[in-house]
């Protein structure tokens, strides 16, 4: 993936993650050196095409719950609502990433429909991790994005 530098890709993810979160909820995310998470869940997707990567977005369940409450405009949200929201939230973020990569480098990419699981999923092969972004919300909820180079990209490198 030589069409964008590491720093540009990182900046792209940082901006999209913060902008989308603020747009849907007015919740601001603040960058941290490290994030200590409590009860968590993770959404994951894989990009293919020009941009090859696997992304893990792990967050305090409380943050996803608060975001889901904002989007659904309801104080009461079920566990299923939180799961469905987390997948849609990541889906939107990934869509914007694809659009921005296309605008910046005229490279087409696609991504798989995000998978959800409870708990914190950490990539098995830590050697493939390209970068990690850590944030805290204004209510001290943590969220972490792990960017892993895909097998395809590794073999092309």
């Amino acid at each position: 993936m030589d069409f964008l530098t590491d720093s540009q890709i990182k900046e792209l993810w940082d901006k999209v993650l913060k902008d989308i979160t603020e747009h849907i909820s007015s919740i601001q995310l603040y960058k941290q050196d490290d994030t200590f998470l409590g009860e968590t869940c993770t959404v994951q997707t894989t990009f293919e095409g020009g941009y090859n990567a696997t992304l893990f977005l792990c967050a305090d369940t409380a943050l996803f719950t608060r975001l889901a409450q904002c989007v659904l405009q309801s104080e009461t949200v079920s566990q299923q609502d939180v799961e469905d929201f987390a997948k849609e939230y990541f889906n939107i973020i990934c869509g914007h990433i694809v659009a921005k990569i296309f605008q910046a480098a005229h490279v087409s990419s696609r991504f798989s429909i995000p998978d959800f699981c409870t708990g914190r999923i950490i990539p098995e092969d830590k050697g493939k991790i390209r970068f990690v972004l850590n944030y805290k919300s204004n209510c001290n909820e943590g969220i972490q994005l792990i960017h892993q180079n895909s097998a395809l990209e590794k073999s092309n490198a």
Binding site: I20, A68, D84, E88, I92, A99, Q103, I113
Partner: protein
Amino acid sequence: MAKKVMVVDDSRIVQLQLQNILSDTDYQVIACCQNGEDALKMYDEVKPDLVTMDILMPGMDGLQTTRLLLEAHPQARVLMVSSLAYDDTINEANNIGAKGFVYKPFDKEQIISSMDKAFSEA
């Protein structure tokens, strides 16, 4: 009388969001489908005035679904609602015959104004 809207989106959250947003407007969600195949089957049954169409869905994507839907029902009004908002996708949606493109995440004003526009251009 409210205009009938069919929502095609694999996300239950988007379906709920649109039902909430449109509840006190001139539009009413009368059917929701989670994929393109179901949308093609259900269109004849519910005969909506407007269809909102996601792009990335399991199975047939929203662009292909729109293509097939408009081949079978050239009068159908389809509004794309997706986060895949870049030139290639938007141009393809326009070429197929979609009536507009709403970027996710959307708000009430954007949705209503795009729906109104889809009807005013008809």
